[in-house]
């Protein structure tokens, strides 16, 4: 008797393709994805529609407790705190994501070059990166903002400078192991141009590593942005960012603690979620153990 695929079977395989990956993710990472997704969605809606109120209008007294009009109370200028919070989350996320994308692009390129060519090229690249790595993160960030002037560009450049050494090292090692494998050698033997080897052979094989490292870099980026803005070298008022809100909340800590606690908690939750997602990505994307033939 031959078995013909039934409609149900086909449905099952289609479902598996869509949800299979999701089902293999562990519960904690799933929760983290949902929480982070909700946070991002809420922020996008809040910033685009202004549904939670204006970020600049004074609506009551200073440091007022939560009320129906201002669900998280008011800040030091009598503005509703909730829209300010979302503006802050948006700024922090945009600054961090832009910085991490830049950092990932740069460190993937130089890490691949260092890993593929090895020898003197690798030494040169890695020693420059080591010098960058030798600076304490915040000192480097303060130096950058002293050179560029405080503001978003300084925050972005600082994050890039801090995360490049971390990512470059990992990309270089990943590239080295891939570059030694036979399929890269046979590509070289078949006369494939080096840029093509980079794009077609190396990049897909280290992409998992890059994505995992980028997710960790993102949580570092959020922390750095928070620290910089907290110290006054990052995003400046009247803009808002999580670090800036925490710094302002600290001034009112004794009589309006929610102004400190809420942005602090958002920062912690966001970083926790990103790290959990990063761990789960690492479990799924990092190169498998070489498959044995036996």
């Amino acid at each position: 008797m031959t078995i013909t695929p039934t409609t149900t079977q086909r449905l099952v395989t289609a479902r598996d393709r869509t949800f299979g990956a999701w089902r293999r993710v562990d519960g904690l990472a799933r929760l983290a994805t949902i929480v982070l997704g909700a946070l991002v969605l809420l922020t996008v809606v809040a910033v685009l529609t202004g549904v939670f109120g204006s970020t600049s209008a004074t609506i009551g007294g200073r440091f007022a407790p939560p009320s129906p009009l201002a669900p998280l109370g008011t800040d030091n200028l009598g503005r509703s705190f909730l829209p300010r919070l979302f503006e802050g989350i948006a700024t922090t996320l945009v600054v961090s994501i832009v910085a991490v994308l830049c950092s990932a692009a740069i460190s993937t390129l130089i890490g691949m070059i260092a890993g593929y060519y090895g020898g003197a090229v690798s030494e040169l690249v890695m020693r420059i990166v080591d010098v960058l790595y030798a600076f304490p993160a915040l000192v480097l960030a303060i130096l950058v903002s002293a050179l560029l002037g405080p503001g978003r560009p300084a925050a972005i450049v600082s994050i890039v400078a801090i995360t490049i050494p971390l990512m470059t090292r990992v990309v270089r090692v990943a590239t080295r192991t891939v570059a030694e494998r036979d399929f890269v050698v046979s590509a070289r033997i078949s006369g494939v141009r080096t840029p093509v080897i980079f794009a077609r052979r190396l990049l897909p094989n280290i992409a998992g590593t890059v994505v995992v490292q980028a997710s960790y870099a993102l949580s570092v980026a959020i922390l750095v942005e928070g620290g910089l803005s907290f110290l006054g070298f990052g995003v400046q008022v009247p803009e808002a960012s999580l670090g800036l809100l925490i710094q302002q909340g600290m001034l009112a800590m004794t009589f309006a603690p929610h102004l400190l606690i809420v942005p602090g908690a958002v920062l912690v939750v966001a970083i926790l979620c990103i790290n959990l997602i990063g761990d789960s990505l690492r479990d799924r994307l990092e190169p498998r153990e070489t498959r044995s033939l036996t």
């Binding site: 494998r181 046979s186 070289r188 033997i189 078949s190 006369g191 992409a207 070489t290």
Partner: protein, 325 residues
């Protein structure tokens, strides 16, 4: 015309002290023939193979000698010419078949890329044809698979198809069957030789499998401590070896031993050279050594380029034993 001509090639790996991997290799492979390079691990087989495509590690320094493949002086090529040379003349089949395929790319796509890179017909029908030529059942099923989804034997057949579809002048196979089980091994080797002979491709096969070498290859070169100690027709070298090392190596072949006989092994280990050997490198392990062996560097003796100062004497002995047998 010969496909490969290596003359007095010496190569060292940097280090303190440096390691002499090749100590004056002479090797010639006739166009369209097949030569097996045999010898213990560390004898320099793989280093010879890598120099043919100038793929030796960065730490390797070539001290002297020349390497010609299909009339091209490999060591003198500039980068673009080297790239063209590798693309047009060379193909490698590696030991680990899974590693020789890109794990992030479906098999069909890999076939397509190799076909396209040489401007050949890369249509889906042609890809199916290529797999059919390698006796892969149901190619349509295999084409959309990733390398980790196929068996080792199939992966190696795909790797051979990838190597041969460019119609290379020289195919270097570095123990392509070492990772396969014995049933698949036979078939993979047969496919490789049939296909290569049909294309007129010269084969350099690095192997530890002496019975298979005797069955498939025209010629054999025996390497020891970075030199070719004996070379000739496969049947002659393996059937009636002259050099003491070839004799010892042939005696380790389990298929030649009758039931109840003891399988002999070569006592000691191959030397690690740190400079040019002053005498015969096999001398410390050789049962037939004389006092002169330790400080007379042997030169090839015709007709098998045997690297032993007692060649004439030993050849007579081999002939006598053949007569008596």
């Amino acid at each position: 015309m010969s496909a490969v001509t290596i003359r007095d090639l010496a190569l060292e790996f940097d280090g303190s002290p440096p390691v002499r991997a090749l100590d004056g290799v002479d090797l010639e492979i006739a166009e369209g023939s097949s030569l097996a390079l045999v010898g213990e691990s560390g004898s320099g087989k793989s280093t010879v193979a890598s120099v043919l495509g100038r793929l030796q590690p960065r730490s390797a320094r070539i001290l002297r000698g020349s390497v010609e493949v299909a009339g091209t002086d490999v060591l003198a090529l500039d980068t673009p010419a080297l790239r063209r040379f590798r693309r047009d003349e060379l193909a490698f089949v590696a030991q680990d078949p899974i590693a020789s395929l890109d794990p992030t790319m479906r098999i069909g796509r890999q076939l397509q890329l190799v076909l396209q890179s040489t401007g050949r017909d890369a249509s889906p029908a042609r890809r199916v044809e290529m797999l059919e030529a390698m006796r892969i059942a149901d190619p349509e099923r295999v084409i959309p698979l990733f390398p980790h989804q196929v068996s080792g034997g199939m992966a190696q057949r795909i790797a051979i198809a990838l190597a041969l579809c460019r119609r290379p002048r020289l195919l270097v196979a570095d123990e392509p069957t070492a990772a396969l089980d014995s049933q698949v091994r036979e078939e993979v080797v047969r496919l490789m030789f049939d296909q290569a002979r049909a294309l007129g491709t010269t084969i350099l096969w690095l192997s530890h499998d002496l019975p298979a070498v005797a069955r498939w290859c025209d010629d054999v070169a025996v390497m020891y401590a970075g030199r070719v100690v004996e070379r000739g027709r496969a049947a002659d070298v393996l059937g009636a070896p002259v050099h003491p090392y070839s004799r010892a190596l042939a005696a380790t072949d389990p298929s030649r031993i009758g039931e109840g006989e003891r399988l002999v092994s070569i006592p000691g280990a191959p030397p690690v050279l740190h400079g040019e050997a002053t005498g015969c490198a096999f001398e410390p392990r050789c049962p037939l050594r004389t006092d002169a062996c330790a400080h007379t560097r042997p030169h090839p003796v015709a007709p098998r380029a045997t690297l032993c100062i007692r060649t004439d004497e030993l050849r007579r002995r081999v002939r006598e034993s053949e007569v008596s047998a």
